[in-house]
């Protein structure tokens, strides 16, 4: 008997692929879904962590490939700035690249230090449901207190040059806030999109910034834990992890495409309402 069936792997992979770019907490859904479906899978089981490594690596790979041309421009810009020992204010690729670094470092460091204790502390499905409600409220708050309302044509023109107008302090703040997503139920992409809105970005620019910011942090988290998948924890789940990763890759691609189009004219509000409704529903179900 395998600890995760192929059907479970596909379902969990599909959920991970959608919930990672959507601002609805993939980790929270990864905790809640097995409990809702009555599966004997627990957040802190070694084999489940090994399985999650594969789906996260797939998500990061798809995000990187989706924005491959952008990443190449960003890398070249960062290379230029390192060579010149300065960031040309007109070089939005370089500025964006270093903003992503400044946003990634605090989240990465806090994640490395606190991931295990936080995961252990908030591993239950009931707490994930409660934090999902909080995540929904946060999304609504971000929309309520955004720096400026959406305008027609917000999505036209060069998105990167608009994102590159963020300050270092703002990028650092978003990076620190990202660490809240270590708690199952709080969405990393929700926090980063919300931060972007608070600092004056449009929904589409905030989503793009969020996806770019997601790539290194998810990839690093996945690669750091790859030995777990290759080690004894991965015994019996590697094939299922591969199936789950393919499912996650497929839905991540579709979700990113959908969201970039969706946020041209829409807001975070529907996701906030969904999180609150789902969190309340799960809280009631888990209580009985």
């Amino acid at each position: 008997m395998h600890p995760i069936s192929y059907l479970q792997a596909i379902v969990l992979g599909l959920i991970q692929g959608v919930a990672e770019p959507f601002p609805i907490s993939s980790l929270g859904h990864g905790v809640i879904a097995p409990q809702l479906f009555g599966w004997n899978i627990h957040q802190n089981d070694d084999y489940f962590l090994a399985f999650l490594v594969a789906t996260h690596c797939a998500t990061a790979l798809v995000l990187f490939c989706f924005f491959f041309k952008d990443w190449m421009r960003i890398f070249r810009g960062m290379g230029r700035s390192l060579r010149d020992r300065q960031i040309d204010p007109a070089d939005s690729d370089a500025k964006l690249g270093w903003l992503l670094v400044v946003g990634t470092i605090p989240a990465g460091v806090i994640g490395l230090l606190l991931e295990h204790p936080l995961r252990s502390l908030f591993a239950s499905a009931a707490s994930a449901a409660a934090f999902l409600i909080l995540n929904g409220v946060l999304l609504l708050v971000f929309e309520r207190f955004r720096k400026r309302p959406p305008r027609p044509g917000d999505y036209l023109g060069d998105s990167d040059s608009r994102i590159a107008k963020l300050s270092w302090r703002q990028a650092f703040g978003v990076g620190v806030a990202q660490a809240a997503a270590l708690v199952p139920g709080i969405s990393r992409s929700g926090i980063t999109m919300g931060g972007g809105l608070l600092f004056g970005l449009s929904n589409e620019d905030a989503a793009r910034y969020s996806f770019l910011l997601a790539t290194p942090i998810i990839a690093a988290a996945g690669l750091l834990k790859l030995p777990e998948l290759m080690g004894s924890a991965g015994d019996g789940v590697r094939a299922q992890a591969l199936v789950g990763a393919i499912a996650a890759a497929l839905t991540t691609y579709l979700a990113v495409r959908f969201l970039l189009k969706f946020f041209e004219t829409n807001r975070l509000t529907p996701f906030g309402i969904y999180c609150i409704a789902m969190g309340v529903f799960c809280t009631i179900v888990f209580a009985f």
Binding site: S81, R85, Q86, V101, I105, V109, L112, L113
Partner: protein, 78 residues
């Protein structure tokens, strides 16, 4: 943003300190870490590799910051 050249040496020194901290985390088990280090656990033989990686990342950030501060002063820097 103006260059702060007076921060170059402190940033390099801080980077070196974090490199040293990273080495300690990589080499010493949790039980042998200085008691004021995060992750110290008396008697534990576990190596806090992730803490070491975090320290290396911060060290790299310090060096990059110093590098940009040492550049030409005419335009913005990191």
């Amino acid at each position: 943003m103006t260059k702060r050249r007076n921060l170059i040496i402190p940033a390099v020194l801080l980077g070196l300190v974090f490199v040293a901290i990273a080495v300690v985390y990589f080499v010493e088990p949790a039980g042998s870490l200085p008691s004021f280090f995060p992750g110290h656990e008396a008697g534990s033989s576990h190596h806090h590799t992730k803490h070491g990686i975090a320290a290396l990342v911060v060290a790299a950030a310090c060096f990059v910051f110093a590098w940009f501060q040492s550049g030409p002063s005419s335009t913005a820097a990191a």
